[in-house]
Amino acid sequence: MTLPGPEPTGREAVVRVAAVGDIHLGEDCAGLLRPAFEALPDCADLLLLAGDLTRHGSVAEAEVVAGEIAGLGVPVVAVLGNHDHHADTPDEVTRVLRDAGAHVLEGESAVLPVAGHKVGVAGAKGFCGGFLGRSAGEFGEPEMKAFVRTARRGAERLARALGELAEHGCAVRIALTHFSPVPDTLAGEPLEIYPFLGSYLLAEAIDAHGADLAVHGHAHLGTEHGMTAGGVRVRNVAQPVIDHAFALYRLPLDGHPTRPHAPTARYGTR
C-alpha cells in the first residue's frame, strides 16, 4: 500500500537498509563507528542494530553506543543482545538508547516512512535452543523447562511484532533479532555450539507471518547469507562477519505486494 502523495522524483522505489550487530562497544570505544555512521544519510534510509551493542550491558557502555547513533539523520531501529543483558539492567540500556532517538524493540514494531511507502521492522532479541531436529525440549528439570520456555516466548514476541506489521500494509517488512533464526548463517561456528546461537522457533514465526528480510547478529564466526525454509532471506550482520561499520541491502518498495500469510494459531493467539 502506498501512502498518499507523489513519489519523490529522481528516486527509485527502493529502501536502503543499513545493518550491523555485535559492535560490543566498551567504555573506551567512543567515536569508533561515528565517522562511518555519519555517511549514513547519503547511502541508507534506516539503520538496524542487531544487538550486542555493548560489552557488558552497563549504562556507561550504553551511553557510548548512544553517542555513536544520536542525531545521525536516519532512523535507528535496535534490538538488544545477550551482552546488553549481562549487567541485568536491560531496561536502563533501552532507556539510554531511546533517549538517543533509537526505536528499541522487544516484541514491538516500528513503521517508518521511506519514499512515500511504509517500511516495517519487527524486533525481538530471541533466544537460543537449537534448530529443527536438534533442539532442546520443554521437559525435565525446572531450569531446562525455563530455558526452552524463554526461547518460545522470544519467538512469540517476534511473531506478535510481525503480526502488528500486517495491519499497517507495509511495502517491506523486516524481522530484526539478535539470535539466529536459521543454521545457514552460523557456518564457521563450531557445530557443537549451534544450539546456543539461535532457535528455529524464530524462523517459524517469520515464515508464519511472512517478511522480506530477516536480520540477526550473535554468530561472530558465522557467515552473512542464509534463508528460512519459507524462502525469507536471512543476513547475519555481526560486525566481525561483515567486516565493515555496517552492511547495506536494497529492497524494492513496489516490486511485489505484501504477502498476507494467515498467522498460525500457535503464534496468533498466545
Binding site: L25, L32, P190, H220, R233, P240, A245, F246
Partner: protein, 97 residues
C-alpha cells in the same frame, strides 16, 4: 585418598598433556567471561602450539586477549591470527529483489 582409574595413577605429578587441555578450556572460559566477554575468538590446539583466530573490535582488545592467553597458557607456544574488524562504511550494497 581418592580412588583413581588407571590412566591417572600412571601419570607422573606435574603438568602433563591433559592439564594443557584444561588450561585451554580455562582460557576459552575466561575469554567468554566477565572481563573480556569476547566470543569472536577461537582457541584451537594445532600440534604443539595453541592457535588463536577470529575478529575483535579494537586493537586494544586484541592485545588484552593475547596477554590473557599468554598468562593462562604459560609454557605453551601461543600463535595468534586475530584480526581487528573493519570499521569503514561499505563501498557497495546487496540488491535484494
Amino acid at each position: 585418598m581418592t580412588e583413581r582409574p588407571e590412566p591417572y595413577e600412571d601419570r607422573a605429578p606435574g603438568p602433563g598433556p591433559y592439564e594443557d587441555e584444561y588450561r585451554i578450556a580455562l582460557l576459552r572460559e575466561r575469554l567468554a567471561g566477565d572481563g573480556p566477554a569476547e566470543l569472536g575468538v577461537r582457541v584451537e590446539r594445532r600440534g604443539g602450539v595453541v592457535l588463536l583466530t577470529g575478529t575483535v573490535p579494537t586493537s586494544t582488545r586484541r592485545e588484552e586477549i593475547l596477554d590473557l592467553a599468554r598468562a593462562t597458557l604459560t609454557g605453551l607456544t601461543v600463535r595468534t591470527d586475530v584480526a581487528v574488524a573493519g570499521r569503514d562504511a561499505p563501498d557497495h550494497g546487496e540488491e535484494l529483489s
